[in-house]
């Protein structure tokens, strides 16, 4: 999973190499390797793509192709908190778009953007599987359900304190 918010460090070959070798440098493990690198840095640095290709013996193009095929991988750094706004069917019926509007109003970032203070990256996701708690969203790895345009703003305000429970 990606959502950890570790201190941002410059990508290092030592760290990347260790992750690749942990998976025996198998071409079949490109996805778990990319996942771990993203865990480490919050995104997949381009240098990591070249490095994975070099060690596993597949082409840069193939690694890049895999990294860009899956929604989860980001080639740009993240804000401190990753907010995934659910746009599944139940959330859509329950007003997910209004939740997104309310978030934009609170943090100044729309879906696909990072807030100017670097605190929040807002993403749109297809379904978090918490349909009976719609509308829902996930901040880092915590799910918040039964949101309203008002409660979502409170959740975001509280988020910096790291409180894990629902709205």
């Amino acid at each position: 999973m990606v959502t950890d918010t570790k201190t941002r460090e410059a990508p290092s070959f030592a760290v990347i190499d260790a992750i690749v070798h942990k998976h025996n440098a198998e071409p079949g493990s490109v996805i778990p390797i990319l996942q771990e690198i993203q865990d480490e840095y919050g995104y997949v640095p381009v240098v990591a793509i070249d490095r994975i290709a070099k060690i596993t013996g597949i082409t840069n193009g193939e690694v890049y192709g895999t990294a860009t095929f899956y929604n989860m991988f980001r080639l740009e750094p993240l804000g401190e908190n990753l907010v995934k706004v659910c746009h599944g069917t139940a959330c859509h019926l329950a007003g997910a778009e209004r939740i997104a509007e309310a978030i934009a109003l609170e943090v100044g970032a729309k879906e696909g953007e990072t807030s100017a203070d670097g605190k929040f990256t807002i993403e749109q996701v297809a379904c978090l599987g918490c349909c009976s708690s719609a509308p829902a969203l996930m901040i880092n790895e915590e799910i918040y359900g039964r949101l309203t345009s008002e409660s979502v703003r409170k959740v975001l305000k509280k988020c910096a304190c790291g409180n894990g429970d629902g709205a």
Binding site: M1, V2, T3, E26, P27, G28, S29, V30, I31, P32, L34, Q35, E62, G65, T66, F69, Y70, N71, M72, F73, K84, H87, G88, T89, A90, H92, L93, G95, E97, R98, E101, A102, A104, L105, V125, A126, C127, L128, G129, C130, C131, S132, S133, A134, A136, M138, E141, E142, I143, Y144, G145, R146, T148, S149, E150, G164, D165, G166, A167
Partner: protein, 593 residues
């Protein structure tokens, strides 16, 4: 998990839905309150009553069960104080009572729980809990007294069909993989539950992961596989965590690894986390993804049973299918096939969501009608508006209007009306849902998730979406319905995989059953459900508005003007129709027309 030492047990539902509703806070409050008492506190998974989360169950000696709903940390303290310390259950918050003579009818009535048999009952993080309810008995029975052929025969006799959506006979799938030449062979569990509106698999994995592991073990033994993968979507971090724990516990106890239970059967299991691609729920794309490639489907045949993962014979089954398997082996095929209809045996789990009063997970015998599921099991709509339709099977499925809701839920009856069983998402809609908007929603999803390999799906879904967009924008052309139908026909016939072949279904079924709504958008430029932004206008009802100024603070475009205690006014030119004002107004003074 029971009152073994004669002391009460308190259980808190902590799967994602419980946590989202604030279950951790309730658990912590209970833990603090129970610190010096003999009462034991444990976590369980999801009993399925997500609409009443957080749930707390009190289990008293003598097997009396009391279930409380909508519990807050404050309520939790009172429950401990009055029920456990003074022996007086807090009647107002009770949802269900069993075993003390004054039972309150269970909201689970009408259900038959096989897949969900342990969900919300056992601690999903304890292998001993699973074993105490007979867990790992199926693999013991299979290894101890059944040949591989007998296991396959038993599953065929049970009538179990794949619960991922396609509904192919599970036992036959295993037979093909067993008879295929090639080694090694693989078992894969498809836990890439991508349909928006579906959460059956998440709940089972979070609440009873060992039953899925055990089903995989039985399958591996039957086809002769010694390696398996669980492909789980990364959007389910709790499910992944509990699966990893379950695997390591099963390894410690010798249910996974070399020479399982002293036999010559060995089996290793790995988890692969998906990376956010809906198409990877398609079996050939899923295998590409396990191999580390872009998850793009290929044409079949060859089927995975002949040439699957790394070109080897592979059987791919879904989470719910595996959870059924362990029950079938333990209880026998006859017990299973006595449930259901002629061609659809057993039970099916549905994720009831949308505008339904009792949303959550339900498991019913095959053959129950949609009406019974929505009204008897689900309690009807959650609003005071009429029931309009259900959407079954997510983006691949179809809409069933209320007028056809006496249809039986089985594979064949559903496909005869243009819907599908699908994986089990059942979205209930009331009169406030715009069916054109719903079709647009699903097409937006499928065109976004199309992998792009074949043209009909990649370009066709995009063109359909564009037409639906202009219809909802009030710019529809007179022949747009026919254009949609024509495109749909080509996409269904010419696409490579299930994603494309089924993508037009939501549009086709809404056209079939709600054509007049399309026509209202196209010809009258109105949205009967008052949903589509371009076709509606917001206004403040001056005689209701109290002038509290709240909406003015929430309006993202500053379109609402007004002084305190004076009726406010919306500037239509600035209004973006987001509906935030309506959401936050406490006096229902915002009107849409």
């Amino acid at each position: 998990m029971s009152t073994a030492n004669g002391s009460p047990v308190v259980k808190v539902g902590l799967s994602s839905c419980g946590v989202a509703a604030g279950g951790r806070g309730v658990y912590d409050a209970l833990a603090a309150k129970l610190e010096d008492s003999k009462v034991s506190l444990m976590q369980t998974g999801c009993i399925g009553m997500c609409y009443k989360e957080p749930l707390v169950e009190v289990l008293m000696p003598g097997n009396e069960r009391y279930l409380y709903g909508d519990v807050t940390p404050e309520k939790a303290e009172r429950i401990i104080e009055e029920h456990l310390f003074k022996g007086q259950p807090v009647k107002d918050w009770l949802l269900m009572v069993e075993g003390n003579g004054s039972d309150i009818a269970s909201p689970l009535e009408g259900q038959r729980r096989i897949v969900l048999r342990h969900c919300g009952i056992i601690d999903p993080e304890s292998i001993d809990d699973y074993i105490s309810v007979g867990g790992y008995g199926a693999i013991k029975k299979a290894l101890g007294s059944m040949t591989q052929e007998q296991v396959i025969d038993e599953v065929i006799e049970s009538g179990l069909r794949g619960r991922g959506g396609a509904g192919f006979s599970t036992g036959m799938k295993w037979r093909f993989a067993r008879e295929a030449k090639g080694s090694p062979k693989y078992i894969i569990c498809n836990a890439d539950e991508g349909d928006p509106g579906a959460f059956m698999d998440r709940s089972v994995l979070e609440s009873d992961p060992h039953s899925v592991l055990e089903g995989m073990l039985v399958a591996a033994y039957a086809i002769g596989a010694d390696e398996g993968y669980i492909y789980c979507r990364a959007e389910y971090p709790l499910a992944v965590r509990r699966l990893k724990l379950a695997i390591s516990l099963a390894q410690e106890r010798g249910f996974l690894g070399e020479s399982i239970l002293g036999s010559d059967f060995s089996f290793d299991l790995k988890i692969r986390e998906g990376a956010g691609a809906f198409v990877c729920g398609e079996e050939t794309a899923l295998m590409m993804s396990i191999e580390g490639k872009r998850g793009m489907p290929r044409s079949r045949p060859p089927f995975p049973a002949q040439s699957g993962l790394w070109g080897k014979p592979t059987s791919i089954n879904n989470v719910e299918t595996f959870a059924n398997v362990s029950w079938i082996i333990s209880n026998g095929a006859k017990e299973y096939n006595s449930l259901g209809t002629e061609k659809s045996k057993g039970t099916k789990v549905f994720a009831l969501a949308g505008k339904v009063a009792r949303g959550g997970l339900v498991e019913v015998p095959m053959g129950m009608t949609i009406n019974d599921i929505v009204f008897k099991v689900g309690g009807g709509t959650s609003s005071d508006l009429a029931f309009k339709a259900v959407q079954m099977g997510g983006p691949s499925g179809g809409c069933v209007p209320a007028s056809l809701a006496d249809t039986q839920v089985d594979y064949d009856s559903l496909s005869s009306i243009g819907a599908i069983m699908g994986s089990g998402g059942m979205l209930v809609m009331d009169e406030s849902t715009c069916m054109v908007d719903l079709a647009k929603f699903f097409l937006n999803f499928t065109q976004d998730e199309s992998c792009g390999k074949c043209v009909p799906c990649r370009v066709g879904t995009k063109r359909m979406l564009e037409i639906l967009e202009r219809i909802t924008d009030g710019k529809g052309h007179d022949d747009d319905i026919e254009k949609l139908e024509g495109l749909a026909d080509s996409i269904k016939r010419a696409s490579l995989c299930g994603l494309g072949q089924t993508a037009p279904n939501p549009a086709l079924t809404t056209i079939k059953y709600f054509r007049e709504e399309y026509e209202a958008h196209i010809k009258d430029k109105t949205c009967p459900a008052k949903k589509c932004p371009a076709l509606i206008t917001y206004e403040v009802l001056a005689d209701v508005c109290t002038g509290c100024t709240k909406c003015t603070k929430f309006c993202p475009t500053g379109a609402i003007a007004g002084e305190k205690k004076q009726p406010h006014v919306i500037d239509d030119a600035k209004c973006v129709r987001c509906g935030l004002c309506m959401d936050v107004c406490k006096f229902n003074s915002i009107n849409v027309f």
